[in-house]
């Protein structure tokens, strides 16, 4: 029981470290952060991001309640399966560059990279519901962009600090996720 509690605290600490000091989180025991926790971070982040997109469109009169619900599920899919696929792509790209991290580590780290997105989307959701402002771009896109910082730290770790390759892989991965939102959500 105590061990489970300590593991939960350690998982939350790893996720929060991703916001400002991802290198510290990556040096820690990433393998011990449970799968469901990692997937729930990115899954919830994109669920809220897409929900805000739907709410913005509903407020503008371009989406029905059913469409909003549909967007929300698409967000969940992008935040879990989509992020895992992008992580697998980054892992595959880093292999020829000397990347020694396992795929499971990469997927966990990529999912946790969306901790800043989750925080931005939680705040955006609150602002959206309280004030009725359009928040998908201001909070959702900004949050998704903040994930690039932990993402580049992860990729640098995977490529043995090869900066040019890390910048390119991060750009492609970030671009895929943003394009996913653009194609599915708009």
């Amino acid at each position: 029981m105590e061990a489970a509690g300590a593991n939960a605290v350690s998982s939350v600490r790893s996720a929060l470290s991703m916001i400002l000091n991802p290198a510290q989180a990556l040096r820690g025991a990433m393998e011990r952060v449970p799968w469901p926790f990692c997937l729930s971070v990115s899954g919830l982040a994109f669920t809220l991001f897409f929900l805000q997109t739907g709410l913005d469109m509903k407020a503008a009169g371009t989406a029905s309640a059913g469409k909003v619900a549909g967007f929300t599920f698409l967000g969940l899919a992008l935040g879990t399966a989509g992020v895992a696929l992008v992580a697998a792509l980054a892992w595959a790209c880093s292999r020829p560059l000397g990347g020694g991290r396992p795929l499971s580590w990469t997927v966990r780290a990529f999912c946790l990279a969306y901790t800043p997105t989750l925080i931005f989307c939680l705040v955006g959701m609150f602002v959206n519901l309280v004030s009725g402002w359009y928040t998908a771009v201001a909070f959702g896109v900004t949050g998704a962009l903040w994930a690039l910082y932990p993402m580049i730290s992860i990729v640098k770790e995977m490529t043995g600090e090869k900066i040019l390759a890390s910048l390119l892989i991060t750009t492609v991965c970030g671009g895929l996720v943003l394009s996913g939102w653009a194609l599915l959500g708009i």
């Binding site: 290198a23 962009l145 943003l178």
Partner: protein, 165 residues
């Protein structure tokens, strides 16, 4: 710790190019016509470079090890962190030109703030892993971000209302 002259020049040019792209994308929403967009971009680029130089000076003022190592060392930390502008500039181009989003300001703000955090991480990597190393780079990046918003607002009001349609 010290970068070679070649590395320094390459990093400087990459950062310059990224800032130019972000300033131009911001300028497209602020200026009226090519002249104003060019003026916004050039002044914005000079302002952004001044902010980065100021950030390096702030780091030097607040960190005794950097003060001992000299301005070049502080600039190295700033330029390594601000290489993170590359994905932001490329994605801002994608978002603006391919998807037609008017989110250049969001890209600029996020780029400046996350790069500030990356500078902090560089300092922590070079020295002790203490979160206090984050304070000056994040404060500097926040100031840079505020200066950029103020600049865009002042330029917009000076340029007058944009023609609709």
């Amino acid at each position: 710790m010290y970068a070679s002259r070649g590395e320094r020049i390459t990093r400087g040019l990459v950062i310059l190019a990224c800032l130019a792209v972000l300033a131009w994308l911001n300028g497209r929403y602020v200026g009226r016509g090519g002249g104003q967009v060019a003026a916004f971009s050039l002044i914005g680029l000079a302002l952004a470079l001044a902010c980065l130089a100021g950030l390096a000076a702030l780091l030097m003022a607040t960190s005794p090890p950097l003060r001992q190592a000299g301005y070049a060392s502080a600039w190295d930390a700033v330029s390594r962190g601000y290489l993170l502008l590359v994905p932001f500039a490329l994605l801002a181009l994608l978002a603006d030109l391919a998807f037609g989003w008017s989110a250049a300001t969001a890209f600029m703000q996020a780029a400046v703030m996350t790069s500030g955090a990356a500078v902090g991480a560089e300092l922590m990597r070079a020295g002790e892993p203490k979160l206090r190393y984050m304070i000056a780079p994040m404060a500097g990046a926040f100031l840079f971000s505020i200066i950029w918003i103020a600049y865009a607002a002042i330029f917009t009001s000076a340029a007058g209302p944009k023609a609709v349609g």
